[in-house]
């Protein structure tokens, strides 16, 4: 009797140890503060998104530890990407990427890290863009603007970011498709781009509907085209660029999360689990609506494929743009 008892106890204990051991090796739970790296300073687009997501994740109790946003600005995403690459294998660090993380290494020789070196986790958001003009300008639709540009080549101007930014790439694609030509003036901040448009110093800009929304409501801006596949829910009367007869590839502005290289499988699964649940919450849907983002949830091999395709697309467009492509 006694022997069987002991054997039984030993078996139970072994099973418990083994299973807890297995569980321990299969599940990851963060045990200290999580670092969320962004490539903008405080107040920049990525920074605000990361802070909002950190807040919402904590609100929905999807993560047990605090998420701390760490700003690593410089050279676009280069400094942030380099920082993440140095944190190889670090389990408590993630980074918030945007499309520029893919394009920047293509044109900057010093950038020694590409998005393939990092571990993709999830794509969360696709930011649509629209073309806006001043409300009292004579351009009621894209055609008006194109014709005016054709009549006065290189006289009209568009405000935007660097020449490798989405704004300019869209401009180059549009110019190629329509044969019209207009200038491009770079401004470092969205505020300046908008204020120059409102001041009449430039004639149009590519802008996110969330930024444009209030100006439209106040009657200062008019949106003449949506750079999306389908019409935007918030702007149902604005035809897409395709509907207006201009067929160009649409460059998505994607935002999502990735991790440093060499991160163990369990960590990736943990984050995928967190964001899986997060994506379904009402607070996330509300946030998407408030900011007029499109839900671009994508993970795993689909996400890797997205990065690859985007890299190829960007390389082609950049080369056409005349930018020095170094990778």
């Amino acid at each position: 009797m006694k022997h069987r008892d002991i054997l039984f106890r030993i078996t139970i204990m072994t099973i418990m140890v083994l299973s807890s051991g297995l569980a321990w090796s299969q599940e990851f739970k963060p045990s200290k503060q999580i670092e969320a790296v962004v490539h903008t300073g405080p107040g920049g687009g990525s920074d605000l998104l990361a802070r909002a997501i950190a807040e919402l994740l904590q609100k929905e109790k999807l993560i047990s530890q605090r998420m701390q946003v760490v700003n690593k600005p410089g050279g676009g995403p280069a400094v942030a990407m380099s920082y993440l690459a140095e944190k190889k294998g670090e389990t408590h660090t993630i980074g918030f990427f945007t499309g520029v993380w893919v394009t920047n290494p293509l044109t900057t020789a010093e950038a020694n890290v590409t998005v393939k070196d990092l571990t993709p986790i999830v794509r969360l958001v696709l930011e649509p863009a629209v073309i806006a003009v001043k409300a009292d300008s004579p351009y009621k639709n894209m055609q008006d603007f194109i014709e005016a540009a054709k009549k006065n080549p290189k006289k009209l101007a568009q405000s935007g970011g660097t020449i490798t930014s989405r704004d300019n790439l869209m401009r180059l694609l549009l110019q190629k498709a329509t044969g019209a030509q207009w200038n491009f003036i770079s401004f470092p901040s969205g505020g300046e781009r908008l204020s120059n448009l409102l001041g009449g110093h430039v004639q149009m800009m590519v802008i996110e509907p969330q930024e444009a929304g209030e100006q439209i409501r106040a009657g200062n801006l008019r949106v003449i085209a949506a750079l999306t596949e389908k019409r935007l829910a918030a702007l149902p009367n604005v035809p897409t660029i395709k509907e207006q007869g201009i067929d160009i590839p649409l460059i998505p502005q994607a935002r999502g999360v990735l991790a440093p290289p060499g991160v163990p499988r369990e960590v990736i699964q943990y984050w995928e689990g967190v964001f899986d649940r997060f994506e379904k919450t009402a607070t996330w849907k509300q946030y998407l609506e408030q900011n007029q983002f499109e839900d671009g949830y994508l993970k795993g091999p689909g996400l890797s494929k997205f990065f690859d395709e985007l890299t190829v697309q960007m390389r082609d467009v950049l080369k056409e743009a005349g930018a020095k492509v170094v990778r």
Partner: protein, 503 residues
């Protein structure tokens, strides 16, 4: 009349115990953040944003705005006492403020800084209340040529910072302009002068460079003599711990100057408080009866820039609240906060949510009063820091510099930059190159090049666009006048000397 009613509404919102409490918390926190170099209000506001989700929204913006303009009060403290700029907009305060501290007038410097900040801050709120929409519309008329002219005007101040040798000042300025080019070019995304370093792609961090040149450079100069020279004359008696009536009289114009320039420049998206403080300092020197004394410890040289960086806070809120356009980093976070709380910042914000706007405006009046009441009595306390024996003071300065610079981006690289610029600052002091010209070049370099290239893009290469537009033409005219004056003076004095030598 309608505005008066709105203002009363605002006060009724601002004077509730909860809002008063959080206003106090905001301004105190802001002052502390401003005093410590490196840690900036932008990062602090961003950190506190999540906490505000649980608050009433008007309370939240009152608190966060309090941090924003409160920091402008605190920034001058270390600038005056230790020659360490607490905020980038307090760099100019180092020039005369620190010299005043060395002459035993740290108290009056700190005091006038608080008073000027109060006056200008209040004017800024008045401006926000009364002329925000028309000012916003005026600001929209500023296109790149106007920004260029503004920067040139600022650089013309180099002529005033020249002190003795204009050539040396120009050389220092050119080096400063060059430093501003380091990093990724905004327009073409090409990198310049980065020596292959990823960390230089964002350029040289401004705080790291200025703390290095001013604070570290100063310490190195002082360490030349063993036993540390008697650097600080200590003030005797309470009378010398606060500004005198004469001081206040001297600063009459500085108060006005700081208020107006700070507020107007603050309303221009993209031009920051640092630019405003330099312009205000330059203007003060231009109209002064004793311009050559600037840089040796002139009290107006503290009052003008300190006023400017406070009025700038009010000005920066103009485009944010009337158009939904953030002027800089900190206002961008405030914008983010507003969006997070569910508001839609834009031209209709004031009409649709008057209690938010007017409550904020009213609380800013109250906040400025709180800040004055808090800061003035602290002046004698802070001034006691200078009584520390130098062998404690210098390690203290070095320590604060390292910590402050590191805390900006959690970057050791920045600390290295600070060290290098420290050596540069020391050498410049020894060789009589004005450090302020270097810093001026760094501050304005970015904006200058950008505005020039943008203007040329607008005009398709036609450079006359800069002179033919009314606003930019006027500003450039002033700049030309300022540039010519000392040259005329110098030429006259050469001829004078030549004539003397002959006879």
């Amino acid at each position: 009349m309608e505005d008066l009613g709105n203002l009363l509404l605002g006060f009724s919102v601002a004077l509730t115990p909860v809002n008063l409490f959080w206003c106090l918390v905001g301004v105190v926190l802001g002052t502390m953040v401003g005093v410590l170099p490196g840690l900036g209000p932008a990062a602090t506001i961003a950190m506190l944003l999540p906490l505000t989700l649980k608050m009433d929204h008007t309370t939240a913006i009152i608190a966060l705005a309090g941090i924003f303009y409160g920091a402008r009060y605190g920034g001058s403290t270390t600038s005056i006492l230790l020659n360490i700029p607490g905020e980038s907009s307090s760099v100019v305060t180092c020039l005369d403020g620190y010299q005043m501290a060395r002459q035993g007038r740290a108290g009056p410097a700190l005091g006038i800084s608080a008073i000027a900040s109060f006056v200008a801050g209040t004017v800024g709120v008045l401006g926000l209340m009364l002329i925000a929409p028309p000012l916003a519309r005026f600001a929209l008329r500023f296109a790149p040529p106007e920004y260029f002219a503004l920067m040139v005007l600022g650089l013309a101040m180099v002529v005033f910072l020249a002190g003795e040798s204009m050539v040396k000042a120009l050389l220092a300025m050119l080096v400063g302009l060059w430093i501003a080019t380091i990093g990724t070019d905004l327009f073409t995304a090409e990198s310049r002068f980065t020596f292959g370093q990823v960390k230089l792609l964002g350029g040289v961090d401004f705080i790291a460079a200025t703390v290095g040149v001013f604070a570290i450079g100063e310490v190195l100069v002082n360490l030349e003599s063993q036993g540390g020279a008697e650097i600080f004359k200590l003030a005797k008696g309470l009378r010398n711990l606060l500004p005198t009536l004469q001081d206040l009289k001297d600063c009459r114009f500085a108060f006005l100057n700081g208020s107006v320039i700070g507020f107007v420049v603050g309303a221009l998206p993209g031009a920051g408080a640092t630019v405003a403080s330099f312009l205000s300092y330059g203007l003060e020197k231009a109209v002064s009866r004793h311009p050559e004394k600037f840089g040796t410890g002139v009290i107006e040289g503290v009052a003008a820039p300190e006023g400017a960086n406070n009025a700038d806070a009010g000005g920066a809120l103009v485009p944010l609240l009337t158009l939904g356009i953030p002027g800089g980093n900190t206002t961008a976070i405030l914008l983010g906060g507003l969006i997070l709380w569910g508001y839609k910042p834009g031209p209709l914000l004031i009409q649709e949510h008057p209690e938010l706007f007017w409550g904020l405006v009213a609380s800013m009046y109250i906040g400025n009063v709180m800040l004055l009441v808090l800061n003035l009595p602290l002046v004698p306390l802070f001034a006691q820091i200078l009584r520390l024996p130098y062998y404690v003071l210098y390690p203290l300065i070095l320590g604060i510099s390292i910590v402050g610079v590191y805390s900006v981006n959690n970057s050791l690289f920045d600390v290295w930059i600070m060290g290098l610029f420290g050596l540069l600052g020391y050498l410049m002091r020894k060789l009589d190159f004005p450090a302020s010209a270097l810093i001026l070049g760094m501050v304005l370099g970015d904006g200058l090049e950008r505005a020039l290239r943008q203007s040329l893009m607008m005009s398709q290469g036609d450079i006359t666009i800069l002179a033919t537009r009314p606003i930019s033409g006027t500003l450039l005219f002033f700049a030309a006048v300022i540039l010519c004056l000392p040259v005329v003076r110098k030429v006259r004095s050469w001829r004078f000397e030549a004539i003397e030598r002959e006879s």
